[in-house]
Assembly symmetry: C2
């Protein structure tokens, strides 16, 4: 199956087959695709909580407006974005580049200076939005990889932020739950799998110049 076909078969699952779990090896590769996602300046201003225990899924059900995906999915990935990128975070990032690439911190100074400057341009709110957009790149990579693995997904934005943060013990001063992705295998009786995909016609989506 090529990737266009895989993406055509992807749809937002409303009900998963509760008895089918994603094998560990496949889940690892999907998460690896999330890890390998591009992010602006390479900063990766996010982390993920992977919910696999039924007990924890049970606790999270009331925090979602559409609970059927949470109660039936194999795994739920919660993408959590950093609110600010501070000096310590940038410092750690550069130490990590320096170690991985065996380049001295001194030689990385021009890149660091450009990042430091960029950080001064954004308000706290703009920074959060920018970070969240990077989180959406991760979300898309997870969905794409899952489609290639014939694993079904449903991206979910409809949750109660305060309640989900409390259950997942997230400090809302420094982090925000940006978006979540339920993964598993579609239930046979999920009627949404039979609906034709609706996409704007090419002439309204693309302009070639």
């Amino acid at each position: 199956m090529n990737y266009v076909e895989a993406l055509q078969k992807r749809y937002s699952v409303k009900k998963f087959d509760k008895d089918k779990k994603i094998p560990a090896e496949i889940l690892n590769d999907i998460l690896e695709a999330g890890k390998l996602s591009a992010s602006s300046l390479g900063l990766q201003p996010y982390r993920m909580i992977v919910v696999e225990s039924d007990e924890m899924k049970e606790k999270l059900i009331p925090t979602f407006y559409n609970p059927s995906q949470i109660s039936t999915c194999s795994h739920l990935v919660v993408i959590i974005t950093k609110k600010k990128i501070d000096e310590t975070y940038i410092g750690n990032y550069f130490n990590h580049i320096s170690e991985t690439r065996e380049i001295s911190l001194e030689n990385l100074q021009p890149f660091k200076k450009s990042i430091d400057f960029y950080m001064t341009l954004n308000s706290d709110e703009e920074m959060l939005h920018w970070n969240e957009k990077q989180g959406y790149l991760v979300l898309a990579n997870l969905m794409f990889a899952a489609a290639l693995e014939k694993v079904d997904t449903c991206p979910m934005e409809g949750f109660k932020p305060e309640e989900i943060s409390e259950i997942l013990e997230i400090d809302n001063e420094t982090e925000k739950v940006t978006v979540t992705l339920a993964l598993g295998y579609r239930a046979e009786d999920d009627i949404f799998q039979n609906f034709k995909k609706v996409r704007k016609p090419n002439e309204r989506l693309f302009k070639f110049i």
Copy 2:
């Protein structure tokens, strides 16, 4: 090559081989992956301009802070986001669903009502940010598909919004240039291809519960 390997080989190209163009069939499949991207409520609040003429690329060079990708890429995709989603847009969307899926507009009313309600919850600014996040899903899909096709890319946020909008004749009242993606084939002397990929270690990126 599996997708994990393909994503590992992806890097943000600084200089493309100017003489290598992406074959039309491959470009079409990559754009199709962008088209098949998920979007919240299926609204696809964006469109893309695909710049292929050298003349237009030339014009755009001064609008980017890093011009080397623009002057050497095969194609540049500009992702443009809608600022607002108004009643007309939603009306057209539902007509389109109704035709594609052969469901009466009446039967779509519950879904339409939930979208109408959702629209009242967001300020203009929140709506724009929400739309832009959907645009980032498209960006990730384009990069992922390109990686599978061994086409190289560089996502670029560093452009002058007013100037790029003017050249592309975008009405800033209703739309915004959100992000761009240069595509092509890496130049042999682009030294960045030799750098090790830097990613947070798993224990800082993932928490399993």
